[in-house]
Symmetry: C2
Subunit: 437 residues, 2 copies
């Protein structure tokens, strides 16, 4: 979409006169008709001005995306990128810019209501790629190739673009907006950034709603956070020579028993609940009874209760298997012991389809001519969803214009027209949800 | 033992006169009284002369041991050492010296009977150590340290010493003796050297008995060969995302079921039979259903039949487990398949305690003042034992004068007195068994 100014139905005068009435009915209006709120925002000169800035600054946003993408940000090593992003948040005029103790970058844009609450608009700093990965961006036409370019480095640049556009257009919002670059969204990070934000950070009880701007297509809205628990289960034993120590307990037999038992757990299809063993290992040679054996188990559910049921069963199974092996074979040298280490913990949760922010996102996406695609996934939004705080993970790119996320040939297409249209739609969701005035 | 000549009961004349009678009764005498045969050898001037040569050449044997140890001979890469050993066998005067197609080094010492049969006297060329291991010999007093110095490099030098001693003493034997340096005795080699010798080589149907001279103490006699079979079992499946593809067959569940079933096999304590899982692996990430999973299984038995029973059960178990998984979960994308790859096959066998060579070894060891220690193990002798050919693995070092076999700090003590005594005892076994005249 090329941004262009169309006529605006309310004059500055009528807006001033009607302001008291509009303010009073704001809460009701938002709940009653998200579509109308979206239309109001889209039709406003300020929004159009902001959209025009996004259009004008498309090149700068792409430059920022390249700059940020080329600063490596492996899990647990986001610091360099965080420092740069903090500088950039300051440069676009946010207040209270800080890197919190977990490593998240925060910057505040004050609203007009001043109720002490904030709406978080975030993107994640980290990538899945380890240190040493070549993160140099390569361009082919309008396509940019680089690890992390789509997930989620470009979103950081888009957030900066949002702030500049709002400033240039003189946009005021009812709510304070806390822009955040989070750490630890990807696998091993285990949501440590948002976990800190919601449970320990300075804003922990002040967040009224949460948006994560992610790599995905603008029509994709994640309103459900699949919960997951991951364990590394290690069975230890005395070990010994396979022939001379035969009869001694073998940790691999205990593990096999546990894994076989795990495979027999029944889970519901709704709420969707799953489990898997993804990795196993152990032993040093074929002719030795191993001293240890391990497996990594992944469990997920849309339901907190179902996830807990499977987790509890797993923990019982592995202990029973160790005990069983200790009765089946000799423990003369040592018993089998088992250690269950939690290596992943993403809480489940969801934002109701009838919630205001869901309906706002739906209306804004439809208004731009896209077909909304609601889904469940595992993102930064899991944490607020689990806490009952309205949260969505939304897109900022055109449909089908990015791919190969988590692979070395990850790409995103920055063709101006589709990208600006998608960013503008994303901004319309944020501004409607934060009560643009 | 310092070698010294004592008086010899038979004069050259009486020997000549009695030779016809002695020759005629040789077979009966040997079967009837191995102890007497040993005594006859020990008392003979030729043997004493040979023993004196071992004593005199102790330093040269140690030098050869160092030279051979310092030529790396990892499994499947024994060639350089084999070529050197072949040169050395030629240099000591053996005939028909050759490196066979498998890599074994052979050299013949003709006997007087000429029945076309041979007695093999061997040591193994290979070590357990991979390419790149520092095999430089370090000396501390009379102790030599180097990977492979004890197992079995020094034995190669001792065989050369035997040949020189026999030559110097003008020893004639009834039997042809085939001196052999074998390849592939250690783990992954899987007895490929002796397997070739007995099943494909030029002497395959001509070997009447077999001695492997090994690292162990001179009093240790291995008369039983524990058989072993080793399998790498691989389960393959379609793989998929742990959440979105949940319900698909998982090769790790099939493997777990198989391993748990394996753990329930009952085996006899006599003949001793064992099984173990020593290594497992598979998978690429905790959040993926793996495309493959594997385990390495070690099975051993003193009995060919019991070993086969466990092997057959394993092969049925893994197929049943794959089938079971294919009924328990979805095979929409692909079924679980299983592959059982034989990665180790050492045939079981034994040489009866009443066999002549066992009794000769016992008598010779006792005559030298050691206490014989008969045992079962897994050595080159497994192959002839399995074929019903009398075979023993015997020592050539003093008791307790070597250690840390298969480790980087492997050592052997070459203190002259004990080493010469042990070598002389070992030679007395060989010369008695080959009918020294």
């Amino acid at each position: 979409m090329k941004s262009s100014c169309s006529s605006f139905p309310l004059s500055a005068l009528s807006l001033t006169l009607a302001s008291a009435v509009l303010m009073a009915s704001a809460a009701q209006a938002q709940t009653a008709d998200p579509a109308a709120q979206v239309q109001r925002v889209l039709a406003s000169p300020a929004f159009k001005s902001a959209a025009a800035t996004l259009d004008k600054e498309h090149g700068r946003i792409v430059e920022d995306a390249i700059k940020l993408t080329e600063i490596p940000a492996p899990p647990f090593a986001e610091k360099e990128r965080a420092e740069e992003f903090a500088k950039m948040l300051k440069a676009v005029g946010l207040s209270d810019v800080q890197i919190d103790p977990e490593g998240n970058v925060l910057g505040l844009r004050k609203g007009t209501r001043g109720d002490g609450k904030v709406v978080v608009v975030s993107a994640h700093l980290d990538t899945v790629f380890p240190a040493g990965t070549d993160v140099k961006v390569k361009r082919q036409g309008t396509k940019l190739y680089a690890p992390g370019i789509g997930d989620d480095s470009t979103s950081l640049a888009v957030l900066l673009g949002f702030v500049r556009a709002m400033k240039a257009a003189g946009v005021n919002t009812r709510d304070d907006i806390l822009f955040v670059g989070t750490v630890g969204e990807e696998g091993p990070g285990d949501l440590r950034g948002v976990r800190y934000l919601f449970t320990k950070g300075a804003y922990k009880d002040k967040i009224k709603s949460f948006f994560s701007v992610e790599s995905g297509d603008i029509n994709r809205v994640t309103h459900g956070g699949v919960g997951s628990k991951r364990y590394r289960i290690t069975f230890n034993g005395p070990g010994g020579h396979s022939y001379s120590a035969f009869g001694a307990v073998n940790p691999m037999f205990a593990q096999a028993q546990a894994a076989a038992e795990l495979s027999r757990i029944q889970v519901p299809t709704t709420p969707k609940t799953t489990y898997s063993i993804g990795l196993i290992g152990g032993g040093t040679s074929v002719n030795s009874i191993p001293v240890s054996s391990w497996m990594e188990v992944d469990m997920r559910s849309e339901s907190v209760d179902e996830l807990k049921r499977v987790e509890d069963r797993l923990l019982k199974i592995v202990q029973d298997a160790a005990d069983g092996e200790n009765f089946a074979r000799s423990t003369k040298d040592a018993k089998i012991t088992v250690e269950a280490k939690l290596i992943g913990d993403r809480p489940a949760g969801s934002t109701d389809m009838n919630a205001e922010i869901v309906q706002i996102a739906k209306s804004a996406i439809e208004a731009a001519g896209y077909k909304p695609n609601f889904n469940w996934s595992s993102t930064d939004s899991n944490m607020p969803m689990n806490l009952g705080i309205p949260a969505l993970t939304i897109g900022r790119g055109d449909v089908g214009k990015s791919g190969r996320s988590h692979s070395l040939d990850e790409w995103t297409d920055v063709e101006k027209g589709p990208m600006v249209k998608a960013m503008t739609t994303s901004l319309s969701i944020v501004l409607t949800a934060t009560g643009m005035e």
